[in-house]
């Protein structure tokens, strides 16, 4: 069965106060505006917006704890990884100011592992965290806040054709369904003595040993989609223009939200066009490094 995200109506939820179409448009504007900049002076307002939305969402800590900790951990891990390797940031800065260098006391085939801590690397890690965290927070709030029964009409309301709108509806619900099926398969294989945490061997061997999990989950997803297609076909889906039972109505607040989103996006693009919004390091930090 297709599973829905854990949505419920919430008292005083800012997101739920708006029409879902307006929120999706605002979210997309927010997403592209945030992605348009590496300057923390531009990113901080977006970070602030995401925190406000989070705190006014009505989603309790208990509900989102697991997803939130996973996302924060994921973002933090990759920010640290970027900082340590120096990869990723080299596209937005050319020169680096060294704060400290750590050299290993050994060499491998003539190469000595070295960690350069530079102002740019450290600051890039901070910017990356702020940027991705803002987007992640705005994204994970959507499934908790948008009514799954309205997914289809929301996408239809965004001028997508019936088939695409319903496909988007099913896609949104595929993720929790996949998660449920994965857990069922995991349980079934664990009951046969399979221990994922004890998988050993080389990379190919490890991938091969994931077969007992991946094969049933994949097959189940394919079978599930065939069932869905049969069930849709048997009830005349896709034969003509569809009536959508639910209706959405724009209010004044929704128009204001959309206008605000568009303002953010256009503003970010204009700022970028004028040459602002690029990676920026506070001069005080450069001075600390003797720059």
């Amino acid at each position: 069965m297709i599973v829905a995200w854990r949505f419920r109506k919430r008292e005083k939820s800012l997101i739920q106060w708006f029409d879902p179409r307006a929120w999706i448009i605002f979210y997309l504007c927010f997403l592209f505006s945030t992605l348009a900049s590496w300057d923390i002076r531009f990113l901080l307002p977006f970070f602030l917006i995401s925190i406000i939305v989070l705190l006014t969402s009505g989603v309790t800590w208990h509900e989102m704890r697991r997803a939130f900790l996973f996302i924060v951990g994921f973002v933090f891990f990759f920010s640290i990884l970027t900082f340590l390797t120096g990869r990723g940031g080299t596209e937005v800065y050319k020169t680096e100011h060294l704060i400290r260098q750590f050299k290993a006391s050994f060499s491998i085939l003539g190469w000595t592992p070295t960690l350069d801590i530079t102002v740019e690397r450290a600051w890039f890690g901070v910017c990356q965290f702020v940027r991705v965290f803002s987007i992640a927070v705005m994204t994970i709030l959507i499934p908790y806040s948008l009514d799954p029964a309205l997914y289809g009409i929301t996408f239809k309301g965004l001028r997508l054709p019936d088939n695409i709108a319903y496909a988007m509806d099913l896609t949104m619900r595929f993720i929790p369904t996949f998660g449920r099926d994965f857990q069922l398969t995991m349980d079934a294989q664990r009951a046969r003595g399979y221990e994922l945490e004890k998988i050993s061997g080389g990379l190919i061997e490890q991938v091969r040993k994931l077969g007992p999990l991946m094969v049933p989950v994949t097959i189940h997803a394919i079978m599930g989609s065939e069932d869905i297609i049969d069930a849709m076909d048997l009830r005349a889906f896709g034969v003509g223009v569809r009536t959508w039972l639910d209706q959405l109505t724009y209010h004044r607040r929704d128009r204001i939200l959309v206008a605000f989103g568009v303002f953010l996006l256009v503003g970010s693009l204009v700022v970028g066009f004028l040459g602002y919004g690029k990676f920026w390091v506070p001069p005080e930090l450069l001075r600390l490094a003797g720059g």
């Binding site: 079934a188 077969g211 999990l213």
Partner: protein, 538 residues
């Protein structure tokens, strides 16, 4: 006389990727107000026939099709699926596979939305349909949170809202508890009495007989072996092939020799160690969410020699209960001990060597390229020696009657065969306790009775526990019955003690069967519950 709503003429079909015909020259006509029960073993072609009638064949399933399906005299081969779906409604075996909407209202309206009906008309039809099925109270509920019986009624409502003249039901009772199954059947009878033509595929023939289907079609190997009235069925069909009322079986089994006595759990008797509990639940409470508890204060012990049937309504907490025994779930309060060790201190893999668990759906576990490799997976994980694994695999295949499928890919087998592979996969692990969740669901009578007989006679098991909706399975095989309702253990005892309280059975959504009634009547003579074939000789 007006033309029959449905006429099938010399219908044959072979799936593109399979050898042999799935159905072979099938012809019949179905009349208004008639329920035509279609029975037969798993893989006999029942579902293929339904797919040919509802148009999924050849539109979704490709292959060689010949013959004709006429609906109100018109050949449907040139119709679009949308045209067919307005005349022929189909309810699939598992309502979970059919429900698309997140809310009941959206689910029931789905077909009408697709037909582009005006919104007001859709609301009117949805409300009428829900009211007709007496489920108006579910209108604004989320489909995910419905019970199995409620889901089936909602799936039916989604089809009926399109006002078909012909209704196809493919094993609609497979996942329902007896009370929900009875309600569904009563609804089907009412629909037929209202003039609808109903084709009903069902293994649970005895249950369907209660609503007096006008005719029965019995299929074997893609062909019609019998098509006629009800009394004629028991004359042409072996009582071991179809589940008939106990009285009928007794009448016919009198002429046969008495059934061989089954030696239940021979392995349990041979173990000399003491009478300590294999599994012990101590005041176990559990909830998936902190605010809602699914299990409340469960206390029980599973001992050597126990064959336990766990009965109760859909959503009562039966699966949650057994998942605690295997360690997949840990109690929020209380403790569970397996072999004297707290499950909180053992891994699931460690527990698996003591307790083998067969899941309800085989598709969640089958992955290997051959049946043999599938069966060797569990024993390999438990580090059994290689030559022992060979023996375990062969023995398990023999028990489930799949020795000829050893080299076949399990995922290419029929659902019933996949189910047997999943059971064999756990049998091969030779765990001391076997736990099965709905072992007979989706399987035909003869097959599941054969493998239940085989499983209970296996030398390796010391106890067996199975969840079932089939009261007769508890009557025939269990020496202990647990009734679970609303996450509480309502009763725990011998079948003859627990199942005699019909009020309690009713409260647990169970319906006394003819076999149970006969056994209770003859209990002073027999001293224990027996299968119908054995009662015939007493």
């Amino acid at each position: 006389m007006p033309e029959a709503p449905l006429i099938v003429e010399k219908l044959s079909f072979r799936y593109r990727d399979r050898q042999g015909l799935a159905i072979d020259h099938i012809s019949f006509a179905a009349n208004p107000g008639e329920i035509l029960l279609i029975a037969g073993a798993s893989g006999c072609g029942k579902t293929t026939l339904i797919r040919c009638i509802n148009g999924l064949i050849p539109r979704s399933y490709k292959g060689e099709l010949s013959g004709r399906v006429l609906v109100f005299g018109e050949d449907t081969s040139t119709w679009k699926l949308s045209q067919i779906s307005q005349k022929i409604g189909t309810v699939l075996q598992d309502p979970e596979r059919q429900i698309l909407g997140t809310r009941v209202l959206n689910e029931v309206a789905f077909g009408l939305e697709n037909l582009g009906m005006p919104r007001q008309e859709i609301f009117k039809r949805v409300d009428e349909t829900l009211s007709y099925l007496s489920i108006s109270h579910l209108r604004d509920r989320e489909t995910f949170n419905l019970s199995g019986g409620e889901k089936q009624m909602v799936a039916l409502a989604g089809v009926l809202a399109m006002r078909p003249s012909i209704l196809l039901l493919d094993e609609p009772l497979a996942s329902l508890d007896p009370a929900s199954a009875r309600d569904t059947l009563d609804t089907v009878r009412a629909l037929a009495d209202g003039g609808m033509t109903v084709l009903l595929i069902e293994h649970r023939v005895e249950d369907v007989l209660r609503i007096r289907p006008e005719r029965v079609m019995f299929m074997t190997d893609g062909q019609v072996r019998y098509l006629g009235n009800l009394p004629g069925l028991s004359k042409v069909v072996n009582y071991r092939e179809v589940k008939l009322p106990a009285e009928d079986i007794i009448e016919r089994a009198k002429a046969d020799p008495p059934p061989a006595e089954i030696k239940i759990l021979p392995g349990a008797a041979s173990v000399k160690s003491g009478n300590e509990a294999l599994v012990r639940f101590e005041n176990v409470g559990f909830g998936y969410e902190p605010e809602t508890e699914v299990l409340h204060g469960i206390n029980l012990e599973v001992k050597r020699g126990d064959v336990i049937a766990v009965l109760g309504p859909n959503g009562a907490g039966k699966t949650t209960f057994v998942k605690h025994a295997i360690g997949l779930l840990k109690p929020k309060s209380g403790r569970v001990f397996v072999n004297g060790v707290d499950t909180k201190e053992s891994s699931v893999a460690q527990i698996a060597s003591t307790l083998g668990y067969v899941f309800q759906s085989p598709s969640h576990m089958l992955f290997a390229p051959t049946v043999r490799e599938e069966l060797a997976f569990g024993p390999s994980n438990l580090k059994h020696p290689k030559d022992q694994i060979e023996q375990e695999v062969k023995a398990a295949l023999r028990i489930v009657n799949l020795s000829d499928k050893e080299k076949d890919p399990p995922l290419a087998l029929s659902f019933g065969q996949q189910k047997r592979v999943s059971i064999a996969a756990v049998l091969a692990m030779r765990s001391r306790i076997l736990v099965m969740d709905e072992p007979t669901a989706g399987q035909d009578y003869q097959n599941y009775m054969n493998f239940m007989d085989s499983i209970l006679q296996l030398p390796g098991f010391e106890a067996i526990l199975f969840i079932t909706h089939d009261v007769d399975l508890a009557v025939i095989y269990a020496n202990r019955v647990l009734l679970i309702a609303d996450g509480r253990l309502m009763a725990d005892g011998k079948p003859q003690d627990v199942l005699r309280d019909f009020d309690r059975l009713k409260a647990c959504h169970l319906v006394p069967s003819s076999l149970l009634a006969l056994n209770l009547k003859r209990l002073p003579q027999t001293g224990r519950f027996l299968r119908a074939e054995a009662l015939a000789h007493i």
